[in-house]
């Protein structure tokens, strides 16, 4: 697969445990029009898988259930490889490593 910078960012964000679309956008600073197609593509290629949040959790927080994404085994490998290849990206990621606010 083609590992663009944004793809690498999304992989890294997922590896760090940012589980859903807007969270990833917050983490990477990428616009939604970029993050979503990347997620779709990674999903189609088997690097991420998605699951729906349980109804109960969502109801407790009074919002609709979210779709969560996580890396698959090959996704984690791809993430590691991408991070190694994009030193620049890792620096950017290190710089933006801010404390996470609630999920």
């Amino acid at each position: 697969m083609r590992l663009t910078v944004p793809t690498t960012l999304v992989l890294q964000a997922l590896a760090q445990g940012h589980p859903h679309g807007f969270d990833i956008m917050e983490a990477t600073g990428l616009p939604s029009g970029t993050v979503y197609p990347i997620l779709r593509r990674l999903d189609a290629e088997g690097l991420v898988r998605s699951r729906w949040e349980r109804d109960g959790t969502a109801r407790l927080e009074q919002r609709p259930p979210r779709r969560y994404y996580e890396l698959t085994a090959s996704g984690r490998e791809a993430a590691a490889a991408a991070i190694a290849r994009y030193r620049v990206a890792t620096r950017v990621l290190a710089a933006m490593a801010t404390p996470r606010s609630g999920t």
């Binding site: 859903h20 807007f22 616009p31 979503y36 919002r63 609630g102």
Partner: protein, 875 residues
């Protein structure tokens, strides 16, 4: 929530862009994401920017899933099209279902009858062996003497066993019952390699007189009569052969069908103890012979082996075995050989119907296609690829195929059930016909094949429609389509005519067959056959039994005449006695040219009850007693064969020899000749002697009723039982049933072919109607012009009808040429009808022209009633 209201409106607006199958999830995900922003403090602008990102997501998904979606879209679109044009869809499905029904049924019959694996180990090694008598090659039943020599002198068989047809009178409940049975020689069960369900088969010691009071019963008898009780082994049955001990049960799968099944399937198997006279019995045979070839021996080798033995026997016993040969037939060929020709014809008819259905469907799709030219042109103009449109149209054909195939399979189950119940019992395993998975798969395959074959040309034609068609009402493309459709209709008419003329030929034969005079009148006659030897061993007792029974029968209400005869026409299991005639005063004939005649014993009432016309002299009557001069009545054909004429034969004396000492009889009457084996068999040379002068135990009572013969069958049986309650009844039927049974295979064949012919006629004529309607619709303008220029309604109607008849005429002409060829295939099934019989062929063409004319009526009337002003204004 309020903050993201606008955003969620945007999401809702973008949603239709997302492919339908992921749309719900897509909306849920975006709604959830926007909702999660409530927790953060984003600006309204940021919110909107994110929502607009959803548009990119939607486009991305749309593009990504476009490829998979085509099929689903096409399917859905196709389904909608078919739903909206339900008339078209139902017609197409109906056509396909008709074609599929016959094909799937035929396939099932082929796999379950012709190719059915035999339920025995190494079935290819099991053969049947028959005699042939020169010059005829027909396999005949085997004489016991010949079988014993074959068995002793051949080296090709592990086992070679003889089967002697037998019947047992078994007293069950209160009335005597007759069970078809067979006596078998050692090695019979071993030949088939079957194992008993319970008990055992016969031991070597049991094949001798005195030790042979044992029986093996069939599984069906065991279940019906003995409730499948495993303790049946060792129980005793009371039969006309004395008490028989049941030693085993043979499985239901064991049905060798070696002997005629006219009287039902064998229920009991007995060990055969060879009678003293049998080793020298080499005349007309009555046994069946079956053998298991040694491993590695092919049937041809066994045939050579046996032929050599037959040749030896021919030199050793020239009188009986001079022209006797042997015929080895694999068991499978024996079982299905007779029906193979019929099934081949059936397969040909099925193929024709399937092709007609295929062509018809193609035609229908063409018609549908030309009606969709505008739609297709618009889609092309909007950028659809031609391949995509062809695929779309083929997919629609496929939808039709699936529906038609399913309907055909359902109908095939009904057809198979009907065949299993009503079909001729001479076809083995017919009673277990059913639709199996293999047939369903085949049906699906064929329907897809049909859909593709009949869909390709119309789809390609439609897809090659020019863009210009979008704005056009009529076009030259229409004319081409019409020509193509006309050609297809003519092809259908041609094939249909082949089937119709086949049906015509069979119908002509059948009518001719029914019109054959068998020499007797078949209506109002009840027939009851008894074997009376067992209870009346002496001639005096026999005479007494028949006298008293006949007297009682004549006292029954509504009885007009009663008689009895030894060899009843059209009944199976007659004892047909042939004797040699010599004529005192004429030079003796050599052995090979001896005059022969069938000898029948009759009571005087027989001729009256059967209404056999007297040609000269008198019938047998009450004057002919046991002490008066021996007399006989002969048939016309016999009189003509050995005398110059009936006057010449009357009063003449002949010497008869059939067993024991010859008898001299005076010919006192000449009657019409009778046919015995079938309406299509020749009349017999027959000589009747009075029962009073020639006591005989195997007789058939013939009772002429004033009204319904079948109502008499019960009273006749009861009358016989009042004379002797233990007397078993071998056969009880009306004479019409007996004659009907012999023509029933022809009747079923005729029914099937007529059915096929009607279906194909209907399909083909439907095609004529369809094309004429389409031509009229697309040429309305021309019609309008013609009317405006002074043509009358009749002119217009004539123009349409002329076009329709031209198609039918072309189809008929081509079809007749085909029928000449196909008639040859039928030759063997025809009775006194030439394959080129003009009445049948012209009749078939006439039927087709009339049906075609009927198809023209609708379109012609519509065209004639067209209003020129409306038409021309619409342009």
């Amino acid at each position: 929530m309020r903050r993201h209201l606008l955003a969620s409106l945007l999401i809702r607006a973008f949603a239709p862009l997302v492919p339908a199958h992921v749309r719900v999830d897509w909306r849920a995900e975006w709604d959830a994401e926007l909702a999660s922003l409530d927790d953060l403090p984003p600006s309204r602008r940021r919110m909107l920017r994110r929502a607009i990102g959803a548009l990119a997501d939607a486009f991305w998904l749309r593009q990504r899933h476009a490829a998979d979606l085509d099929w689903i879209d096409d399917l859905r679109y196709g389904g909608r099209q078919l739903f909206q044009h339900a008339g078209f869809a139902l017609t197409a499905i109906g056509i396909l279902a008709v074609g599929l029904t016959v094909t799937v049924a035929m396939f099932s019959i082929t796999t379950q009858v012709l190719l059915r694996p035999l339920p025995y180990p190494d079935p290819d090694r099991i053969v049947t062996v028959w005699e042939t008598r020169a010059p005829d090659e027909t396999p005949l039943d085997v004489a016991p003497g010949n079988f014993l020599d074959w068995q002793a002198r051949t080296r090709s068989f592990d086992h070679l066993a003889g089967v002697d047809p037998w019947s047992l009178d078994v007293t069950t409940d209160s009335r005597p019952d007759v069970w078809p049975a067979a006596k078998v020689t050692p090695g019979f069960f071993e030949t088939f390699g079957v194992a008993p369900v319970v008990g055992r088969f016969f031991e070597p010691g049991e094949y001798t007189k005195g030790h042979d009071q044992v029986a093996v019963i069939t599984e069906s008898l065991w279940r019906q009569r003995f409730a499948a009780d495993p303790d049946v082994v060792g129980t005793s049955m009371r039969t006309s052969d004395g008490p028989l001990t049941i030693v085993g049960v043979v499985p239901a799968t064991f049905e060798p069908r070696l002997l005629g099944t006219g009287t039902g399937q064998r229920r009991v198997w007995l060990p055969k103890a060879i009678e003293a006279y049998e080793p020298s019995s080499r005349g007309r045979g009555y046994w069946a012979v079956v053998g298991r070839l040694k491993a590695g021996v092919v049937p041809e080798a066994a045939q050579a082996d046996l032929t050599a033995v037959a040749r030896q026997l021919g030199t050793e016993y020239p009188r009986t075995n001079g022209g006797t040969g042997v015929r080895v037939l694999a068991l499978r060929d024996h079982l299905v050989g007779d029906v193979r020709l019929g099934l081949t014809l059936l397969a040909a008819a099925v193929a024709l119907v399937l092709i007609i259905a295929c062509v018809n469907l193609a035609n229908l799709l063409l018609a549908r296609g030309s009606a969709r030219e505008r739609e297709v042109a618009i889609r092309l103009a909007l950028g659809a690829r031609r391949g995509r449109i062809v695929r779309q149209l083929l997919l629609e054909s496929l939808l039709l195929a699936v529906a038609g195939g399913a309907a055909g399979c359902v109908a095939a189950t009904w057809v198979l059930t009907a065949i299993a119940r009503l079909g001729p019992s001479s076809v083995p395993w017919i009673e277990s016909l059913h639709l199996d998975g293999q047939a369903v798969l085949f049906g699906i395959g064929v329907s897809i094949g049909v859909a593709v074959c009949s869909g390709v040309v119309p789809a390609w034609r439609v897809a090659s429609t020019g863009l210009a068609a979008a704005g056009r009402q009529t076009s030259t493309a229409d004319a081409t389509t019409h020509r193509l459709r006309t050609g297809l209709v003519v092809a259908q008419l041609t094939l249909a005519l082949v089937l119709i003329s086949g049906a015509g030929l069979l119908m002509r034969s059948f009518v001719g067959l029914l019109a054959v005079d068998p020499g007797f009148a078949r209506d109002r006659v009840a027939v009851t056959q008894v074997f009376a030897w067992d209870y009346n061993p002496s001639p005096a007792q026999l005479a007494g039994f028949f006298d008293r029974t006949l007297e009682r029968l004549s006292a029954l209400p509504a009885v007009q005449a009663v008689g009895a005869v030894s060899a009843m026409p059209f009944i199976e299991s007659n004892i047909n006695v042939q004797g040699v005639l010599t004529f005192p005063g004429r030079p003796a004939a050599t052995d090979g040219e001896a005059a022969r005649a069938y000898l029948s014993v009759a009571t005087p009432g027989y001729f009256e009850a059967m209404r056999i016309p007297l040609q000269a002299g008198r019938h047998l009557d009450s004057r002919d007693g046991s002490s008066t001069k021996r007399v006989a009545v002969i048939t016309e054909t016999l009189a003509r064969r050995y005398w110059a004429g009936s006057d010449d034969a009357l009063g003449d004396t002949v010497r008869l020899r059939f067993s024991g000492t010859p008898t001299e009889v005076e010919i006192v009457g000449i009657v019409s000749s009778l046919r015995h084996d079938g309406l299509d068999s020749g009349p017999r040379d027959e000589l009747f002697m009075p029962l009073a002068q020639m006591p005989f135990g195997s007789m058939t009572f013939v009772v002429l009723s004033a009204g319904n013969a079948s109502a008499l069958l019960g009273p006749v049986r009861d009358a016989i039982w009042t004379i002797n309650p233990a007397q078993s009844i071998y056969r009880s039927a009306t004479l019409e049933e007996l004659v009907g049974n012999t023509v029933s295979p022809r009747r079923s064949a005729l029914g099937i072919i007529v059915g096929f012919a009607l279906v194909s006629l209907l399909l083909a004529v439907g095609g004529v109607y369809g094309v004429l309607s389409a031509v009229m619709t697309s040429r309305l303008r021309e019609v309008g012009l013609r009317i405006a220029l002074g043509a009358t309604g009749w002119d217009i109607a004539g123009w349409v009808v002329g076009r329709g008849l031209l198609m039918c005429g072309l189809g008929s002409a081509l079809g007749l040429a085909g029928a000449f060829g196909a008639g040859q295939l039928l030759r063997r099934s025809l009775f006194q009808t030439a394959p080129t019989d003009p009445v049948a062929l012209v009749g078939a063409a006439t039927v087709m022209m009339l049906a075609g004319l009927a198809a023209c009526v609708g379109p012609a009337r519509r065209a004639a009633a067209a209003d020129p002003i409306t038409i021309l204004r619409a342009e």
